[in-house]
Symmetry: C2
Subunit: 103 residues, 2 copies
């Protein structure tokens, strides 16, 4: 299983519309990717390790796939549509990472 993590940095002036993300963006991604998408999770940053410190990321989204190949095959044809929607909920430049799920 692999996880595609999209990490939205908590920079000065960063905007992130969690309602749009949860109600519009993620459902659209789920609909486009279909059964290739094995799971989705979303978190909103609260803080860092020190009490009162800001979170490194204002939000994180994670998508699960059986393999890198099924991710690429399912995401590729819809990449343009999905990426074009990002500016509707954030002005940040997300860090994207593909990981192997170990536990």
């Amino acid at each position: 299983m692999i996880k595609v993590s999209v990490l939205y940095p908590n920079t000065e002036g960063s905007r992130f519309d969690m309602t749009y993300y949860l109600k519009k963006h993620i459902p659209m991604v789920q609909q486009k990717l279909g059964t290739a998408l094995k799971g989705a999770s979303v978190e909103q940053g609260l803080g860092g390790a020190q009490p009162g410190s800001p979170p490194a990321y204002v939000a994180m989204g994670h998508l699960l796939f059986d393999s890198v190949e099924t991710f690429q095959k399912s995401f590729g044809p819809h990449a343009e549509t999905i990426v074009a929607d990002v500016s509707n909920y954030t002005n940040t430049q997300p860090t994207i990472q593909v990981s192997e799920v170990k536990l």
Copy 2:
């Protein structure tokens, strides 16, 4: 539900012993935190958004708790022991973030 994410950066010369992390560190954390810990997940970084690009994080660990309060109450008394074990599997300085689980 809240998620505590520990993100280990993929810097030059970074060392991360995934076997130790999975077989020793995480089981020790699970044992210390007991029933306050509602779940744990671990990922190993494979790559970034561009084919062939390196992952931002060599590894990520995520711990689930009912609330920030139950995290602090369960983690606090064992923080020193848990943090002291980190140098056994990595030389990186992890980014730690507390997030609210939205999906």
